[in-house]
Symmetry: C2
Subunit: 292 residues, 2 copies
């Protein structure tokens, strides 16, 4: 018997479709359904054979589901949760995959009916590609999944959701939503903002330079363009919904950058060398932590 | 008969040792020698079997060579070129692999004896690793190599150096040194500076966050740590020697970042979305240009 009767994926893009694939492969639900506003996306999901049904309405997907996962940009969560609230069954688990967690608690929390277990989640996994065709079952393999259960959340529901992610290949940790948002601001949100910025700066160069930026991108720029090719709506919502933590980290970054800028202007090579030596050690830490 | 009699690699780190390997494999020189100030490095190079002789003195390596390549940090070029000038033979080609080109012309140019062909070069290739053991013969395969021959440079010498890089697998282009420095400032130097900065910002976080930065680095930060693990001395020299172009690009970047910062603070999602959509297109350009 599968751990869940009906898995409802609200949104079937990169993450949703990867979850559909791994849930099917690992037998995590008897029935896998999704919703998407776009007909083209629903047709793709059905053609790929990764869901049993694809609905235009989130409520139709969530009806009768014992696990509902929001896999759309976080800016949609408030409306979607209001929409599906009337059909959610007592005992159902409601979760998400959004990259911010305080805003998710703020937007979904008030709409959760009594008896429904609301446990926000965030798999640290993704690629720069979008759409149901870009997903793959191995996306979560060896990746962290952070759960931020609210105080007093049902222990059994947490355990079931944890087992779901573990079956998808993830290592699950629990965290406070505010702490999650701070950690992700520096490990993910700020890097994306910076990558978007520098790629934007390059596109604004005079034409004679711009074509060469693409040609000679292997010098380092290329890594930034991959990050800056991530889904625009998803990332817009993340920055708006984690404003405080992102602005705080951005402030620190800007100060540090100004310090280096001054060192370059005044030819203070020792300051540059000191930092460049320090950052090398961090890479070693990551390689040792087996994340590289 | 090999195209060169004696190839002298001044410095035998990642780039120098990769050149030694590919020159040996492709039969580009009858004899391959190197110099390194550090005894440990010389011993490694000899133990790896990638050079025939390893000298402590650059002049001893350059003596009798018809191709001399500087493969040390650019800050060493002025002294090294003065040191080897007396032993350089007429007809020899003197080149380098430095990531800046105007400063190289400034530092080496005045020391070049009559009859020696000075043709600066820059292969757009590398990894974050250092030392003779980190090189590999395929490093230059499919990569650009930019030559910046001075006005009036000997056409035959340019053709011979070009053929050397092509035999190493590179596609060779010629460029004006000032233009090179501008292009590299945005495609390579600024990305490195930013990566160093953000990794530095992360290391300065309070301890409770810092360990988690490493743990959850897969969210985007990890790509930056790889770049920020590059050789500290080499990169210190690059920033000091391409100061003007780097500060110019840094100024543009900081303005663009401030614009996004303001958009986040004021919740102007449309501005974020507009940029994020634009940057996605650049990535497509790079993929189409087969550099990704």
């Amino acid at each position: 018997m599968a751990p869940f009767r009906r898995l409802a994926l609200i949104g079937i893009g990169l993450i949703g479709s990867s979850l559909a694939r791994v849930a099917r492969r690992a037998g995590l639900a008897d029935e896998i359904v999704c919703s998407s506003r776009r007909e083209e996306t629903r047709e793709k999901a059905l053609a790929l054979g990764i869901v049993d049904h694809a609905f235009a309405s989130a409520a139709d997907a969530a009806r009768g589901a014992d696990l509902v996962l929001f896999c759309t940009p976080v800016g949609t969560y408030a409306d979607l949760s209001a929409e599906i609230a009337p059909v959610l069954e007592p005992g159902a688990i409601l979760s998400d995959v959004g990259s911010v967690k305080q805003a998710v608690v703020r937007d979904i929390g008030p709409n959760v009916p009594d008896g429904v277990h609301f446990i926000p989640g965030h798999p640290i996994a993704g690629t720069e590609h979008s759409g149901p065709e870009s997903g793959f079952a191995e996306l979560f393999q060896g990746r962290w999944c952070i759960l931020t259960p609210p105080p007093g959340a049902d222990a059994d529901a947490i355990a079931r959701l944890r087992a779901f992610w573990e079956a998808a290949g993830s290592e699950v940790v629990e965290m406070d939503p505010a702490h999650h948002d701070k950690v992700l601001a520096i490990t993910s949100h700020l890097p994306h903002l910076i990558a978007y910025t520098i790629v934007g700066t390059a596109t604004d160069l005079e034409e004679s330079l711009r074509s060469e930026v693409i040609k000679y991108s292997a010098g380092g720029f290329r890594d930034f363009t991959r990050i800056a090719a991530s889904d625009p709506v998803m990332w817009r919502d993340i920055f708006l919904d984690n404003r405080e933590a992102v602005l705080e980290m951005l402030g620190r970054f800007s100060e540090d950058l100004a310090y280096l800028q001054r060192a370059i202007r005044w030819g203070e090579g020792d300051k540059l060398h000191e930092l460049f030596t320090r950052t090398r050690a961090i890479r070693r830490g990551i390689i040792e932590a087996r994340q590289a």
